[in-house]
Amino acid sequence: MDAAGAEARAAKLATRSLKKSTKLVALDLAVSMVDLTTLEGADTPGRVTSLCTKAKWPDAGDDTVPSVAAVCVYPDLVAHAREILRGSSVKVASVATAFPSGRASLNVKLLDVRDAVAAGAHEIDMVIDRGAFLSGQFGRVFDEIVAVKAVCGDAHLKVILETGELITYDNVRRASWIAMLGGADFIKTSTGKVGVNATLPNALVMLEAVRDFAELSGELVGVKVAGGIRTSKDALRYLVVVNETVGEKWLTPDLFRFGASSLLNDLLMQRRKQRTGAYARPDDFSGD
């Protein structure tokens, strides 16, 4: 990987200009790709209830708005989220494996995953062992992913690389390959809990890895960017990178996700502006 080159490519793609119908389609697509997330120590059933409601009907006054892809919560709130979302298409994703640090024994991590799966999680967002990765124990990172995949059952596995701790693009690419070879259904940038979260160049590098993996294996692995994506402009830039790196096949919630919370309202505001021509205000939409 050449850092300057990757960053230059990402910056160039960021200058694409999406107008009119393209923008409308892209905004709706982005809404449908959101993993509406709450991962706080202060999370309560009440908080999760409002989040799930927002996930089903992002804009209470407009039923043309698609539902988001999933809500993402800690394992102990999975059952509650499933309950609220019963009958909707919105999936429940759960972080697991001693999220966000991953600093626990494999047994504890597997138990964490089993709990979440038993509670009904459709998707498991695991973290890789960055300590092992950065000390060169790639086999250990790989084995752990394989083990987690084995206990996921039908649940989809998203593997969080925590790119903000891997630092270099070479590491990001290598970690992407380890995760994909280990059985990841998705590779995901970040926990949202460290200083640097998703960046456009990191997403580019991961998408390139996903593309190359698909060419070799025929398997399509998804990509989830998480943390720090707050504006529609940011989101559309990611969609452009997806479009021009792996192509339209990935332009679906099955293969691309945004892990975010505040992004959704900005998408809704832009969406309304595109339709009505007038700028909307934040209070037009629920604050959840």
Partner: protein, 486 residues
């Protein structure tokens, strides 16, 4: 699988996102900029300048005669003797800073003018040509009062009147490359823009007026080659700076051989972009694309010969063709366009002819399946595989969006092939092994070597060729030498 992937690439359709043509604020006709004023040409003759993307007339521009060139030179001589050579470097510096700022202020207008007149994508005129032109004036502004420290001895003198002839591929940027160092060092200028792309220089003339640059310090004479020839042959010009083809450069060098004119030449090239098996793959593919399709390949330093290590040649070709297929070709004013129009019918004919030779000589042609507009001058991005060194498309400068791919086995062979040309402007090297990159860079006969990047320009970085790519440098401290009597 691979086929499916490539067919799906970039399939999200982008609605047109055109920059407004009205931003250009073009006049119907332009005179010659002599002695600080737009004046009618001696013979009242003019010619239309076209938008190569649709063949519409943009404006009428004056055709300078030898008498007009003489007026311009006389004005420059007067300005040199009475104003510019007497002014302190610090004051000259402030004029250049002013010009730089004005270019920034009118950046969008200039970008649109450039795109209309040249056919290049607005993304490039907006993000490359115009910002770099401003940066060039900024850089040389700072030199004007520091020439004692430039390493050419104390109080280096200006040459006098500089005749500057620029090409059509980067019209404003080339004007900036010529004018900024010449003015910083105390010369006055007569600039001859290319026949097919005079407009941005004429907007620059308006900017010079707004900057209140003293009359005659810069004169701009538009016209065809005869105006350039009149400038080259003029007896009272001290310096000729030319950017263009090697053939014309050769004629100019011959023409000034019996005069005392100083000369610098930036001529053609057939740059080799060398890819080693340990190159950073995706960045390298982008670099190859930038190397040959930037500015429709109308770049003297284009990486028009791709030299790929044989061990990865198939993979590189596959990825390259997939990427070429993704290039958005079309309306240059659309912000999402990657590749714009060919600058002129003549250039299109030359590209077409040379690519026909490529096929006749047995190279394997791949051309993007992109749709081309019906009107205007267009050429779809093209890659030739299985090219050998004896093919014309591997030897002659095509100056268009056409890449010739050759292979090599060892670093030594790569260098031998890269240097197997009479040109020597630029080369690229792609590898993650620093020691080998530097080893290769030492052995390449080229004025500019890009390692893990391509087609980068900066006012602080000297640019120019060796051998038949010309002599003299533009940019950096080295660029001052071309305009100082040292």
């Amino acid at each position: 699988m691979a086929g499916e992937l490539s067919s799906s690439l970039g399939a999200m359709v982008y609605d047109p996102a055109p920059e407004s043509r009205a931003t250009a604020r073009l006049r119907e006709s332009y005179g010659l900029f002599i002695d600080g004023e737009f004046t009618d040409p001696d013979r009242h003759s003019s010619f239309p300048t076209l938008n190569p993307a649709n063949e519409e007339v943009l404006a009428h521009v004056a055709q300078a005669s030898a008498a007009d060139v003489d007026r311009a030179v006389a004005s420059a001589r007067r300005a040199h003797a009475t104003v510019w050579s007497k002014m302190s470097g610090a004051e000259r510096s402030k004029y250049l800073f002013r010009i730089a700022r004005l270019i920034q202020e009118r950046a969008r207008e200039l970008a649109v003018v450039e795109t209309l007149d040249n056919g290049k994508a607005i993304r490039e005129s907006r993000d490359v040509d115009i910002p770099l032109a401003a940066a060039h004036f900024f850089y040389y502004a700072g030199w004007a009062d520091k020439l004692d420290f430039a390493g050419f001895g104390p109080r280096p003198k200006s040459l006098g009147v500089a005749g500057q002839i620029i090409p059509w591929n980067f019209p404003l940027l080339m004007a900036a490359w010529k004018l900024a160092p010449a003015l910083a060092t105390g010369n006055t200028c007569v600039l001859k823009p290319a026949e097919t792309t005079p407009l941005s220089a004429l907007v620059l003339a308006e900017i010079l007026q707004q900057a209140e640059l003293p009359p005659g310090v810069v004169n701009i004479v538009t016209g065809d080659g005869s105006a350039g020839a009149a400038l080259v042959e003029h007896g009272d010009v001290d310096k000729i700076a030319f950017t263009g083809s090697t053939d014309v450069g050769r004629m100019i060098q011959q023409s000034v051989a019996s005069s005392h004119k100083h000369l610098t030449l930036e001529l053609g090239g057939k740059g080799a972009n060398i890819v080693f098996e340990d190159a950073p793959v995706d960045e390298m593919i982008e670099g190859i694309i930038d190397g040959i399709f930037f500015n429709q390949g109308h770049v003297c330093c284009a990486g028009s010969r791709l030299l790929v290590q044989e061990s990865i040649a198939d993979d590189v070709m596959r990825r390259l063709i997939r990427r070429v297929e993704q290039l958005r070709v079309g309306d240059p004013l659309d912000k999402n366009t990657d590749v714009g129009a060919i600058n002129s019918a003549a250039q299109l004919a030359r590209i077409t002819e040379l690519t026909q030779f490529g096929e006749m000589e047995g190279a394997t042609r791949y051309t993007s399946s992109c749709a081309l507009p019906e009107k205007g001058y267009w050429f779809a991005p093209t890659v030739f595989a299985d090219v050998s060194q004896s093919h014309r498309i591997a030897r002659e400068e095509i100056f268009g969006p056409v890449l010739s791919v050759l292979t090599f086995r060892t670093p030594e062979e790569a260098i031998a092939k890269a240097n197997n040309t009479n040109y020597g402007l630029a080369c690229g090297v792609w590898s993650e092994k620093g020691s080998r990159t530097l080893w290769v860079a030492e052995r390449l006969r080229a004025g500019v070597i890009w390692a893990n990047t391509y087609n980068r320009f900066d006012p602080t970085s000297p640019f120019g060729g060796v051998r038949e790519s010309g002599f003299g440098r533009e940019g950096g401290r080295h660029g001052l030498e071309a305009y100082l009597d040292v």
